[in-house]
């Protein structure tokens, strides 16, 4: 934790808040699609997870995703933004954060590009969020559950690719400085975990 300089903490906090509130902002729009398909959601969560993926890819080391998920759950509980999950809402925030950490760490030494890893992390995190919501709240099964998972995966992949573009833009602005704080040399394609 001693390596986390103020700018890194501010950046992580900003991504936490953006992730949490972006979901609220985009929900009315995504509900048009999910209502038409008669499924309970999946797209807005993928978008909100994009900010966690961006933060984890730009901030090296540690379990940033899990930590940010935990912080988001505290913010959600304190603002009463727990939805139908109630007291189990922290599970719905922490599990996708952990998945992001594990996927990005697990693929760090693979030949996959940063954009591919972000798309994979976002997609799998979105599926884990959908699975958690399904276990706690929706209890869907069969073709509806398959569609719910497919929507989460495809929107997660698209948001991951969008996140890669944003991370590319952010790298010279904040990524390099964060990497310097961690005394890690910048690498050619930006920063990676």
């Amino acid at each position: 934790m001693k390596n986390y300089r103020l700018r890194t903490v501010i950046f992580l906090a900003l991504c936490c808040d953006l992730g949490l509130f972006a979901k609220r902002l985009i929900s009315p729009l995504t509900n048009i699609v999910t209502d038409a398909l008669h499924v309970p959601g999946g797209i807005a969560t993928s978008f909100s997870l994009m900010f966690l993926v961006i933060a984890v890819i730009l901030v090296p080391g540690g379990f940033c995703g899990t930590l940010m998920g935990a912080v988001q759950s505290v913010i959600a509980l304190s603002f009463g933004m727990v939805g139908s999950m109630g007291a189990l809402a922290p599970v719905g925030y922490i599990v996708p954060g952990l998945v992001i950490d594990l996927v990005l760490k697990g693929t760090a030494k693979t030949p996959l590009s940063r954009a591919d890893r972000m798309a994979l992390a976002n997609g799998l995190a979105a599926i884990s969020a959908a699975a958690t919501a399904n276990l706690i709240v929706f209890r869907l099964s069969g073709i509806v559950l398959a569609l719910y998972a497919c929507i989460a995966l495809s929107s997660g992949i698209l948001c991951g690719l969008l996140g890669a573009k944003i991370a590319q833009r952010l790298t010279p602005v904040i990524g390099v400085q964060i990497r310097q704080d961690f005394k890690i040399k910048p690498i050619k394609d930006g920063v990676s975990v």
Partner: protein
């Protein structure tokens, strides 16, 4: 083939898969006409029009997952009465299912004294209200069908 092309193909494949699953879901799902609820029991399906039911004033309070309490003052009808009007008298559990497949289960005992269960009339359709629950998790909006088992 370039890496970028593989990525685009994979993303397109996942989106295509989603489209196929969506088509299967939309083609096979039980659709309900607006203003109606389908009651499914013993391999029979009965459609009940919400406008034909006699509405009663429904009053009480419910709590949500955040612990907030809301007062309900609306028009609706007891679920038990709706089932009786459709000829459903003996059952173990009732699944009240929304348009987006979200559902809540109620037992025979809950419908016969343990809880006060109503379907409220709302602009977008009927809403299930279960008075006495610790949270409003079972308050299903946009009720489309009721499955009896």
């Amino acid at each position: 083939m370039k890496k970028k092309h593989i990525r685009v193909l994979l993303a397109a494949g996942v989106i295509l898969l989603t489209g196929v699953v969506a088509c299967v879901h939309l083609a096979t799902r039980t659709s309900t006409e607006e203003g109606q609820i389908q009651i499914m029991y013993e391999e029979k399906t009965v459609s009940v029009s919400l406008t034909e039911l006699e509405l009663h004033p429904v009053q009480g309070s419910i709590s949500n997952a955040k612990g907030e309490t809301f007062e309900i003052d609306a028009m609706g009808f007891p679920l038990e009465e709706l089932l009786a009007s459709a000829g459903v008298t003996s059952y173990e559990t009732v699944s009240v299912i929304a348009d987006d497949e979200y559902y809540a289960e109620l037992t025979f005992a809950e419908l016969h004294g343990e809880r006060e269960v109503y379907l409220l009339e709302e602009e977008e359709g009927a809403r299930l209200i279960v008075f006495g629950d610790a949270n409003s998790k079972r308050n299903v909006s946009h009720v489309a069908r009721i499955e009896i088992s």
